[in-house]
Amino acid sequence: MDPLDDPKLSELLKEWQVPGAPRSLDARVLRRDRWWSFLLTGSIRVPVPVGLLIAAMLLVMAVALVRRPAAKQPQSSVNLVEFRPVDDPHVRVIRGQL
């Protein structure tokens, strides 16, 4: 018997039936993501040199931020720039009663 043509064996093999694809597969394969879902679940691939460059830039910015001198506080000192003495003072001495 030609081993490539064996109807009896083929008939016997057909007794093993397997169902088709389950519905859960449709949901997995045909799922269409909302455009904004990328913001929650998406990922991007960054080349290593670009990633290292970004990391170095962030490091430099952080160091610069730490080393920057603190902003000067406004001084509360009094100056006499706009002080104008009275032109014609009339001094009156009031003596208190002892």
Binding site: D6, K8, L9, L12, W16, V18, A21, L25, V29
Partner: protein, 166 residues
């Protein structure tokens, strides 16, 4: 490949791929994962797909088959894919369903014999199409199919005798 073409290919071939993967792996869950991964891969590489290279069915079966073999390689790295000298013993037929015994016999075949047999017997693919899907010459397909059927005749001898076939 447009989204519409992809959806059409999925609707047309999902059952074939699922049945093939399930018969290859023996697991519905693994088969579902494999078919899912196959279509994800096809969609990601849709720009490089060339329809002139063969039918969509043989292309998709080829992708699913490669994923299944890779998975098997990860799980059982030291097992041979093709063991030409493998001689399978007759299975125990006592009190069992015929379909169950056939499933066990097919699962006992070496993977490359199994895939050739599944595609030829269950999906009724031509030898040339099996060759395209599995990436081997026609002679290799014939050889694998020949050995698979020999092994199955040996394993399923108790069932074939009850049907009056030697």
């Amino acid at each position: 490949m447009t989204r519409a073409e992809f959806n059409e290919a999925y609707g047309q071939h999902k059952d074939v791929l699922y049945r093939f993967a399930r018969r290859m792996t023996g697991s519905g869950e693994v088969a579902e994962d494999l078919v899912h991964d196959c279509f994800v891969l096809v969609w990601r590489n849709r720009a490089t797909h060339r329809p002139e290279r063969g039918t969509m069915r043989s292309f998709l079966i080829g992708v699913t088959r490669n994923l299944a073999l890779k998975r098997r390689q990860r799980e059982r790295p030291f097992d041979e894919l093709e063991d030409a000298s493998a001689v399978c013993a007759p299975i125990d037929a006592a009190g069992r369903e015929r379909g169950e015994m056939v499933a066990e016999a097919v699962a006992a075949l070496p993977p490359l014999q199994r895939e050739a047999l599944i595609l030829a017997e269950y999906e009724e693919m031509s030898l040339e199409e099996i060759g395209r899907a599995t990436g081997v010459e026609l002679a290799a397909v014939k050889s694998r199919l020949h050995r698979a059927r020999e092994n199955l005749r040996r394993m399923l001898a108790p069932l074939m005798q009850t049907k009056g076939v030697a």
